[in-house]
């Protein structure tokens, strides 16, 4: 027997006083010292204890060391090797995996005659092995603590053996005092120690007993050592159901017992604590009764019902422990060890209710965390904007998603159908700020883009006209404008945006329009200030004043503009553009919905939008101060984006209904998901520049990527539908497509066409050729039922019906699908698809000009393509920004194994 047994017990117990449990004289050997858990925990224990670990074992790693703040601990293959090297010890700590624990214990006992106790940290040891461990230890007079425990610690001796009691800063929780703690839960041992300090109580010895089926060092053993420990004036126990360990114990000193686990009566399997399952007679309620009898109390202690006696109290909530202890000790005329430290009240460290209004008792404000956590949290908020992890973005988008069932695409959570009913400006900002702009932000956006559209004196005009004269399609013409709008052309605007964001990042500003925000705390040096000022070369540029006047006229508010105007000097239009974009971006940025990168690149997108729209207007219409005859002041102060887009297509300002239809059309065309060829073009261009170095990504080139990847089949095919309608209506004398009293027999027209089509089909079949597909009807997904519908067409149709709007071309289409079926040209009623409604709406807008000879067929085709480009540039901006933030360099590449060869 290694130790003298305490007499009078039916089993061996060596430890007879608490200060011997974790004493400064203990020398420790750790089995599996280099394992995952021990590697982080042992150095802290060793340093806290002043260096009590003499060596550790790890088979095959003899010669290595475990570095700790208190020096390096040598590692050997076996315990015997370590002993032979001269390292004596009396305490073993076992971190071996479950299957190795029993052999580890056997080894310790066999080779070390000086061994007195072993602490077993390992969880999930087989009950079989636990029995054998006990048998060996009992036969040899060794104390075992555990298994599945967190070790032992002593606040007076400043010693910690085994596990992570007190966490990685044990000195925070292990405060010297007069309470001994014995807990079935490792983590809660530390928690209880902390809770006690809030009532002014410190600790003596803390023991985590574990809660396996066999608790090797149990409550009764603790009670003996506790009774003999002069330092400990009181004890706190944390107890779970299972086993009779706590029954009929004579405590001799005041004790607070916390019994938790009534709900475990429902368990059929152990969760977490293998032993915390009761049979009969050892449930949570049984244990509660044992303690209530031991303390002579009638009930459980709570703040409402403080059942307490001088012997002790029973609680079922650990938060009640401090108050219960103080109450028990008061009955013993014993005061707490020190003044209370801290409290247990709710102290939120980090919170964000995302703008929601919670009830006051739930919307608890954030408080400063204790050091050093407060500094760490402050450092977190130094970083403004969302942080997004990068991944391959090939055929992947965080911006758009198509619902396969309805074929409706959503951009940042908004269906394009719903977007189509929003004002155009709201759509233009969406891809970049991930939110719909409200009326105020939209007004600012109108000014920002309007200022870029007139290209008089800019080489872009010459280039665009040259491209147009060369017979290029509208997308190619637009891409010329995009290509020229390169990094140097936006350098200053981007620098202004970056500077504004940096100046205000730490300011606490939440809303870019906050009129009451105190600007005096924003300090700017002369070099930065100079960024925003107009240079002498720009003295003749009227746009800065025009923009400011327009913003004023539209009631625009911007903290950033107010700040810049405070300089008292002439601002450049780049500065004003940056102020506008930062105003719109600020809310989403502060709420971490968008990244800082997105906010910093916004001016580039706005400039591109304006330039691309401007490039669709032939050069001769760009004059100083007027665009296609419309004066600057009018455009800046009153026109919307829809107005400008209409002007670009038709040369005139639309009436409100026309503007509405242009807005709807553009909305419907915004995106068809990341698989569409336009999206692939934009994403590929970003990927090829390398989004992981965002400064090098040429956003204008990415726009050109989208543009070059549209064409007569993709984007330019809108004209097909219009051509078809023109064929049907050309000589019918139609004056107003929106007037329901048009006097035309649409059913008859549809029927005639259907019959002719049926004949063509039959002829083609005989000849073995194919008849042309009809534009605007049928769809590969929406088919097969007796009557079919394209949900996108239905959505728009319903909207128009509710507004009492009529469109003859759409009406014709509805007749057409009916007639095709009635004459037997189709097996079921085809759907009228979304292309039909686009063609119908656009043709209605352009009809009068066409009839009057102001627009030719070629003009109509260009208009159809152009409106596609206006819509799709929004979707492209979304994909570009998304890929820039999330993608990896060259991620859109297809590996050779994914490619095929044909001869």
């Amino acid at each position: 027997m290694r130790q003298k047994a305490i007499s009078g017990l039916p089993y061996f117990l060596g430890v007879d006083r608490l200060n011997a449990v974790a004493s400064p004289e203990d020398r420790v050997c750790v089995l599996n010292i280099l394992g995952g858990e021990s590697r982080t925990v042992t150095p802290v224990s060793h340093a806290f204890s002043g260096g009590n670990v003499v060596f550790g074992t790890s088979p095959g790693r003899s010669g290595q060391v475990l570095k700790t703040p208190a020096g390096s601990i040598p590692v050997f293959n076996t315990v015997l090797e370590g002993i032979r090297a001269g390292h004596g010890f009396n305490t073993g700590v076992v971190y071996l995996p479950p299957s190795g624990v029993r052999d580890g214990v056997a080894e310790l006992i066999r080779v070390n005659p000086e061994l007195k106790k072993i602490v077993i940290i390992t969880e999930k040891i087989a009950v079989h092995d636990a029995r054998e461990i006990r048998a060996m230890a009992q036969a040899n007079g060794i104390d075992i603590i555990g298994g599945n425990c967190l070790g032992v610690a002593d606040s007076w001796n400043k010693v910690r053996i085994g596990g992570a009691l007190g966490g990685d800063h044990p000195e925070e929780s292990l405060v010297k005092g007069s309470v001994a703690v014995f807990s079935n839960s490792g983590g809660f041992t530390t928690t209880i120690a902390q809770y006690l300090t809030t009532a002014g109580w410190g600790t003596t010895t803390l023991i985590s007993s574990g809660k396996d089926v066999y608790i090797q060092y149990a409550a009764r053993d603790f009670a003996l050592a506790f009774a003999k420990d002069d330092r400990s004036k009181a004890g706190v126990l944390y107890v779970e159901p299972g086993g009779y360990y706590e029954k009929d114990i004579d405590w001799q000193k005041p004790v607070v017992a916390c019994v938790v686990g009534r709900w475990k009566a429902k368990l059929t399997r152990a969760v977490g604590h293998a032993g915390a399952m009761a049979g009969s007679g050892d449930s949570a309620e049984d244990k509660e009764r044992w303690f209530m009898e031991a303390f002579d109390v009638d009930g459980i202690y709570t703040s409402e019902t403080p059942h307490v006696s001088a012997k002790g109290a029973l609680v079922t909530n650990i938060a009640d422990i401090p108050a219960a202890l103080t109450a028990v000790m008061a009955l013993n005329d014993i005061q707490p060890d020190f003044a209370p430290r801290g409290s247990l009240s709710l102290k939120p460290w980090i919170a964000n209710d995302q703008g929601l209004q919670l009830p006051p008792d739930l919307a608890q404000p954030v408080v400063t965390a204790p050091a050093p956590y407060d500094a760490q949290i402050a450092a977190l908020s130094d970083q403004i904007g969302a942080v997004i992890a990068r991944q391959s973005m090939k055929d992947t988008s965080g911006a758009s998603q198509m619902d396969p069932k309805t074929q409706v695409t959503s951009v940042h959570g908004h269906r394009v159908l719903d977007l189509a009913l929003q004002p155009l400006e709201a759509m233009f900002a969406l891809p970049l700020v991930h939110e719909l702009a409200d009326a105020h932000d939209r007004a600012m956006l109108d000014v920002a883009v309007a200022a870029e559209v007139n290209l008089i004196g800019d080489p872009i005009l010459l280039a665009a006209d040259a491209a147009r004269d060369a017979g290029n399609s509208p997308n190619t013409v637009m891409s010329v404008a995009a290509a020229i709008t390169g990094p140097k052309r936006v350098e200053r605007a981007l620098a202004c945006a970056r500077a504004l964001i940096a100046l205000f990042a730490q300011s606490g500003l939440r809303d870019g329009r906050d009129e009451s925000f105190d600007l005096s705390k924003i300090e700017v040096d002369d070099q930065t200030r100079a960024l925003f000022l107009a240079t002498p070369d720009e003295a003749d540029d009227p746009r800065p004043e025009a923009m400011l006047a327009a913003i004023e006229a539209r009631g625009g508010k911007s903290v950033f503009l107010r700040f810049l105007l405070g300089f008292g000097e002439r601002l450049s239009r780049d500065a004003i553009l940056a102020a506008i974009t930062t105003t719109i971006a600020w809310g989403p940025l502060a709420r971490k919905r968008i990244s800082r990168l997105t906010a910093e690149t916004l001016p580039w997108y706005m400039r591109l939008y304006g330039v691309m729209v401007g490039a669709t207007i032939p050069g001769r219409h760009h004059q100083p101060g007027s665009l296609w005859g419309i004066p600057r002041e009018e455009r800046f102060s009153r026109w919307t984006m829809a107005d400008i887009c209409c002007l670009a297509m038709t040369g005139k300002k639309p009436d409100p209904t026309e503007a509405l239809y242009v807005q709807i059309l553009i909305g419907l065309l915004i995106s068809n998901g990341p698989g569409s060829i336009t999206a692939q073009g934009a994403k590929g261009a970003v990927s090829a520049d390398g989004p992981q170095t965002p400064d090098r990504v040429q956003i204008n080139k990415a726009m050109a990527g989208f543009l070059t990847h549209s064409g007569y089949s993709h984007g330019g095919n809108g004209f097909e539908g219009m051509a078809f309608l023109l064929d049907q209506f050309r000589d019918k004398g139609l004056k107003d497509p929106t007037d329901p009293n048009h006097g035309l027999d649409l059913t008859g027209m549809a029927r005639d066409f259907a019959l002719a089509y049926k004949r063509d089909k039959a002829t083609a079949k005989e000849l073995g050729t194919e008849v042309r597909a009809l534009p605007g009807v049928h769809h590969p997904i929406f088919k097969g039922k007796p009557e079919n519908f394209d949900p996108r067409e239905r959505f728009i149709a319903q909207f128009m019906e509710e507004r009492g709007e009529y469109n003859i071309f759409h009406h014709f289409y509805r007749e057409l699908v009916r007639q095709l079926y009635d004459v037997g040209a189709s097996r079921y009623v085809f759907c009228v698809n979304v292309d039909a409604i686009i063609a119908a709406l656009l043709l209605a807008v352009l009809w009068k000009d066409y009839q009057a000879g102001r627009m030719t067929d070629a003009n109509l085709e260009t208009a159809a393509f152009t409106i596609f480009l206006f819509g799709r540039m929004i979707g492209a901006a979304a994909e570009i920004d998304d890929h820039l933030n999330r993608g990896r360099n060259m991620d859109t590449r297809t590996p050779a194994s994914g490619c095929k060869h044909v001869v």
């Binding site: 995952g36 079989h128 530390t190 928690t191 368990l267 977490g272 915390a276 760490q376 919905r593």
Partner: protein, 256 residues
């Protein structure tokens, strides 16, 4: 004279000890008289309980499906991830509950399950420092089974001993982001109560993820009483049941 029953006790002990049993019950036992007057004890019924952690159970060659009987599909999925690197113990408390509470630590598990009562969907212990991939897999399984009905995602534990808060929070946050991407967003409120290594780093990472998803949250450190944090989570759940969930859905742009 030694009773024939007692003679069998060593063999019964061998069965119990060497085949991974924790309990063994023979009830009733009848004594059958033999030819020569000797009595043979016969067990008319046999029951036993097994120790899940003892590989010796496999010696009996019992088919797995016998043990699956009282496990739900969810529990079985999570159990497959059970290694000694982290606990991943789960138990379905109420399949109609509204608080999904990944809990860390056996003690926390006891307290949290007790206080949440029927509002809790699962009782769990995911402590023991699981690596990132394992934490993410376990979280993904929990979300797949239960997130649709969840009001409060409640991540709770005491001051961790060695579980890395950054790794585990990153795993749970990334799994949530992927779940939203695949299955669509769910109106949620996230409550966290935790302490341990890399605490603020983990909180910051999770906060960023939730911000980008538009999910509201409140995080508590180890200096708030764990029982108070649990009560707070319950109060949030009650608020959500009486209209809060709809408010969150609108804010997150989720169709009803």
């Amino acid at each position: 004279m030694i009773s024939p029953l007692v003679q069998h006790l060593p063999k019964l002990w061998e069965l119990m000890h060497h085949y991974g049993m924790t309990t063994l019950e023979l009830n009733p036992i009848r004594m059958r008289p033999g030819k020569d007057g000797r009595l043979t004890p016969v067990a008319c019924d046999f029951k036993c309980g097994f120790d899940r952690d003892d590989p010796r159970v496999a010696r009996l060659g019992l088919p797995q499906h016998l043990f699956a009987a009282d496990l739900s599909e969810f529990e079985q999925e999570v159990n497959q991830l059970r290694t000694h690197q982290g606990q991943s113990d789960v138990f379905v408390v109420n399949e109609f509950g509204t608080i999904l509470a990944p809990t860390f630590g056996g003690g926390a598990n006891s307290l949290v399950t007790e206080v949440l009562g029927e509002a809790a969907i699962i009782s769990s212990d995911f402590g023991g420092n699981p690596p990132y991939e394992k934490m993410k897999s376990v979280a993904a399984i929990c979300y797949r089974h239960f997130l649709a009905q969840t009001n409060v995602l409640f991540i709770i534990g005491g001051k961790s001993n060695n579980t890395d808060i950054h790794e585990t929070f990153r795993g749970m946050g990334d799994a949530l982001r992927e779940h939203f991407a695949k299955h669509g967003p769910v109106p949620l409120y996230v409550v966290v109560g935790r302490g341990g290594p890399n605490l603020v780093r983990g909180m910051g990472n999770l906060a960023d993820t939730l911000d980008s998803l538009g999910v509201p949250y409140r995080f508590f450190g180890f200096d708030s009483a764990i029982s108070e944090v649990v009560n707070y989570a319950k109060r949030i759940d009650e608020w959500m049941r009486t209209g809060g969930r709809e408010q969150i859905a609108r804010s997150m742009n989720i169709a009803a």
